[in-house]
C-alpha cells in the first residue's frame, strides 16, 4: 500500500471513530407491535412525537389475512380529509398501468395489501405530529383488483397533531405480522 493510501485509510478511520454524526443511525426504532388474531383493526398509540418529523411504518413477519384486501391507514382519530392515488403495473399484461384514487375519504385507502400468506405494508408518514398536513408514501403495495404492484401517495388535509395510527383491512380480518415504527432522525 502506498503512503497516500495509508493516509486516506487513516483519515476515514478517524472520521468514523471520532464523529458521532457519521456513525449514528438514520432510522431509530420507536416501537413494535405484534398483530393479534383475526382482528379488523389494529391501532398503535403514542408513537408520533416531537422527536421526529418523519416516520417509517413497516410490517414484517408472518402476517396474513382471511381475504384479499387493501390495508387502509388512518392517522390518529382523523376520520375525514384523506386524498390520494395509487398506480400499479399489471404483471399479467406485461406492465399495463392501472390507477385509482380517493378524495375526502375516511382513511388512506391503498396503503398496503393483505392476503393469504401475504402482508405488504411499507409506508413513510411525513409530519403526523406537527400541526399541519400529513403526507404519506406507500411503497410496493399491491392492487389486487388489477394484479399489479405499485405505489400510493396521499395527504391528510387536517392541521391536527396526531400521536398514533391504525391499520384496517378493507375486508376480512388480519392475523400476525409485526408492525415496526421507526423515526427518521431529525
Amino acid at each position: 500500500m502506498t503512503d497516500r493510501g495509508q493516509f486516506s485509510q487513516s483519515v476515514a478511520y478517524r472520521r468514523a471513530m471520532n464523529n458521532p454524526i457519521a456513525t449514528a443511525p438514520g432510522l431509530e426504532l420507536i416501537t413494535t407491535q405484534v398483530i393479534g388474531t383475526a382482528v379488523s383493526s389494529v391501532q398503535v398509540t403514542s408513537c408520533f412525537s416531537a422527536s421526529y418529523d418523519i416516520y417509517r411504518v413497516i410490517v414484517g413477519g408472518n402476517g396474513t389475512s382471511s381475504a384479499d384486501a387493501d390495508l387502509q391507514l388512518r392517522i390518529g382519530s382523523l376520520t375525514s380529509g384523506y386524498n390520494g392515488g395509487q398506480f400499479s403495473t399489471d404483471f399479467n399484461t406485461a406492465g399495463t398501468v392501472n390507477g385509482r384514487a380517493f378524495i375526502s375519504d375516511s382513511s388512506f385507502r391503498f396503503a398496503g395489501f393483505c392476503g393469504t400468506g401475504r402482508f405488504i405494508f411499507n409506508v413513510d408518514i411525513i409530519n403526523p405530529f406537527l400541526a399541519q398536513r400529513t403526507f404519506v408514501s406507500a411503497f410496493n403495495n399491491f392492487q389486487f383488483t388489477a394484479n399489479g404492484f405499485g405505489m400510493m401517495g396521499g395527504e391528510q388535509t387536517s392541521a391536527s397533531s396526531s400521536t398514533g395510527f391504525d391499520i384496517r383491512p378493507s375486508s376480512g380480518t388480519i392475523t400476525g405480522g409485526t408492525i415496526r415504527v421507526y423515526g427518521y432522525k431529525n
Binding site: 383493526s41 383488483t145 378493507s170 380480518t173
Partner: protein, 69 residues
C-alpha cells in the same frame, strides 16, 4: 357485523360505533372495487374487440403491438 379491534396489546370486541365505522369503510371499498373490476372488464372487452377487428384487416399481433404496444 361483529369486529375485534386491537389497541396496542389489547384485543377486544368493537363497540357499536367502532363497528359501524369499520363497516362503513368496508362498504365504500367494496363498492369501489366492484366498480373498478367492471371498468377493467369493459376495457378488456373493448380491447379484445379492437384487436379482432385489426386482425381481420390482416395485421399480425406483432404489427399491432408495434403501433399500440
Amino acid at each position: 357485523m361483529k369486529h375485534k379491534i386491537q389497541i396496542n396489546d389489547l384485543v377486544r370486541d368493537a363497540t357499536l360505533e367502532e363497528a359501524a365505522d369499520i363497516d362503513d369503510m368496508r362498504a365504500k371499498a367494496l363498492a369501489d372495487n366492484a366498480r373498478e373490476l367492471l371498468l377493467k372488464e369493459d376495457k378488456n372487452v373493448i380491447r379484445n374487440s379492437a384487436l379482432n377487428k385489426l386482425k381481420l384487416l390482416g395485421l399480425t399481433v406483432e404489427e399491432i403491438m408495434a403501433v399500440v404496444g
